[in-house]
Amino acid sequence: MKIAVSIKQVPARDSALRVDPGGKWLDESDLAYEMNEPDAYALEEALQLKEKLGGEVLVLCAGTERAQQTIREALAKGADRAIHVETQPGALFDPLVTARLLAKAVESEQPDLILTGLQSDDAGYGETGVLMADVLGYAHATIVMEVEAQAGSVRVKRELEDGWFQHVSLPLPAVLTIQSGIKKLRYATLMGIKKARTKEIKSLKADQLGIDLRPALLLDRIYTPERVKQSQIFSGDAQTAAHQLVEKLRFEARVL
């Protein structure tokens, strides 16, 4: 089975985020980056499917040159090769454009399955997978917990709301967006890291794929939200803060 996994590089969790002076994106000067966590689970699912069924895992990633580091990480974990759709710094902020680029890049590979995380931890639109399926004319299922591959089709367990689930069967090729946490993530081994150095990364320039790169939405600005709720925050040394908090809980909130 040929499985493509679409991954994104995002600022590391717990990064201190500062808006750049232009007000349209982050000041990237001292940010660290990592693989979008939901995509890491999609990659894990793909690697386990390959271990069970044989075949190939192909990494797909749109991003600047910096994203190569995340692509190498995926290769080190066991993906076979990668396609990198290289974008200009700060140029891409729109899942519809991203989906069209990735679809164009992967189309001729004719994968059986495309997996991706259910959303990104940065912009969080949660749409790239569904949009890739639409552009490619593939079937899709979202928020997938389990994947059973069958001949020419796939049966998945989808998460619905309020503790409900549902099985859905789809003909191949199909796109699945994977829920986080469904499998334990592997670490790259030293051997894996070494092997990754020689694995192929095909690089395509985003502006040479014949896709309209104009975003579907206009971004006015990004900003730090104002606090609406008047919360009382204690900082400083732990002892004093804990004492102040307990006083408040006893005599103001009266919950102790």
Binding site: V130, A141, L160, V168, P215, I222, K229, A253
Partner: protein, 324 residues
């Protein structure tokens, strides 16, 4: 120009977030003086149409077809696409549910645009509404607007109040759609629930909930001690349960339990919306987190910014003092 709100129903019941989407629609309708329509897709919708109609829209459109009885992204996209092409609203609003996440991006793409997903506020600008979205799980906000003729928007649960019934009833119009069974490739089976929960946190008076900030399974002891000192139930955000550090039945949030205790202490939880929806009914919320920009502080009455491994032991000591 008009605004259309797409209600969601599942097996004969309206999803209540639909009424929050309706409030968002009313806001735009009033700001720009344009008519508001409600759309509902499914099969045999007459009873639901009456419920929706009591909320005072210009008209209710029913997209009815046997192939819409059971949800599939293909049939919902095709059915609503035909309605939208015919009515030509300027803004289409959905509740941001798992179902909407499954088909609305596809529907929007058929109009060459992107669903503005998970919107928390709408601002009035002279020529177009501006939609506010969260980035980085709420640490930042973005103001966005559509670039084309039509906007598709999904609104976050809890971001808008629930629309009240109006004094009048809207007329109901059935919109005939052409659907072909060959279009529908996904074959859904019957939805099911996993085993019944043995822990019911919804009745707990005090809850101590732990998140990613705890870092290691072995560190859970410190929050267990805090829970014991407070005579509280222990709960967690999703990543902790995904790791198997606490059982799934102790998970709070959109995919876990919804709770409303008198005291909710969130330890090392950043406060992603998926968690907040499960605990926002709590009376007093305390947050302990090292990141002062964590969205959990927005939901908290009291907060301590600091290292939980220093703060929690100090807190336990203080609580024990008052217990004695």
């Amino acid at each position: 120009m008009s605004v259309m709100v797409v209600f969601e129903q599942r097996s004969g019941e309206l999803n209540r977030v639909s009424y929050e989407a309706l409030t968002a629609g009313q806001k735009i309708s009033q700001a720009y003086g344009v008519p508001l329509f409600i759309a509902l897709a499914g099969a045999k919708l007459d009873a639901l149409a009456q419920q929706a109609a009591s909320h005072g829209a210009e008209k209710i459109f029913l997209v009815e077809h046997d192939l819409l009885e059971i949800y599939t992204p293909e049939a919902y996209t095709a059915g609503l696409e035909q309605l939208i092409r015919s009515v030509q609203p300027k803004v289409v609003i959905f509740p941001h549910t798992y179902q909407v996440r499954d088909y609305a991006p596809k529907l929007a793409a058929h109009f060459s645009t992107l669903l503005i997903s998970d919107v928390i506020d709408i601002k009035k600008d002279s020529d177009s509404p501006v939609f506010v979205r969260q980035l980085f799980q709420g640490k930042l906000h973005a103001d966005v607007r559509p670039s084309g003729e039509i906007a598709f928007v999904s609104v976050q649960a809890g971001a808008f109040r629930t629309a009240e019934p109006a004094g009048r009833s809207a007329p109901v119009e059935k919109f005939a759609v052409q659907l072909n069974p060959n279009q529908i490739r996904s074959k859904p089976e019957k939805p099911f629930r996993e085993a019944q929960r043995s822990v019911d946190l919804s009745a707990a008076e005090r809850i101590v909930a732990v998140g990613r900030g705890i870092k290691e399974r072995e560190n859970l002891r410190v929050v267990e001690e805090l829970a014991a000192a407070l005579h509280a139930e222990l709960a967690a955000s999703r990543p902790i349960c995904d790791n198997g550090w606490l059982p799934m039945e102790r998970q709070i949030g959109s995919s876990g339990q919804t709770v409303a205790p008198k005291l909710y202490v969130a330890v090392g939880i950043s406060g992603a919306i998926q968690h907040l929806v499960g605990m926002k009914g709590s009376k007093t919320v305390v947050a302990i987190n090292k990141d002062e920009s964590a969205p959990i502080f927005e939901a908290a009455d009291y907060g301590i910014v600091g290292d939980l491994f220093e703060v929690v032991p100090a807190l336990i000591k203080e609580i024990q003092k008052t217990n004695n």
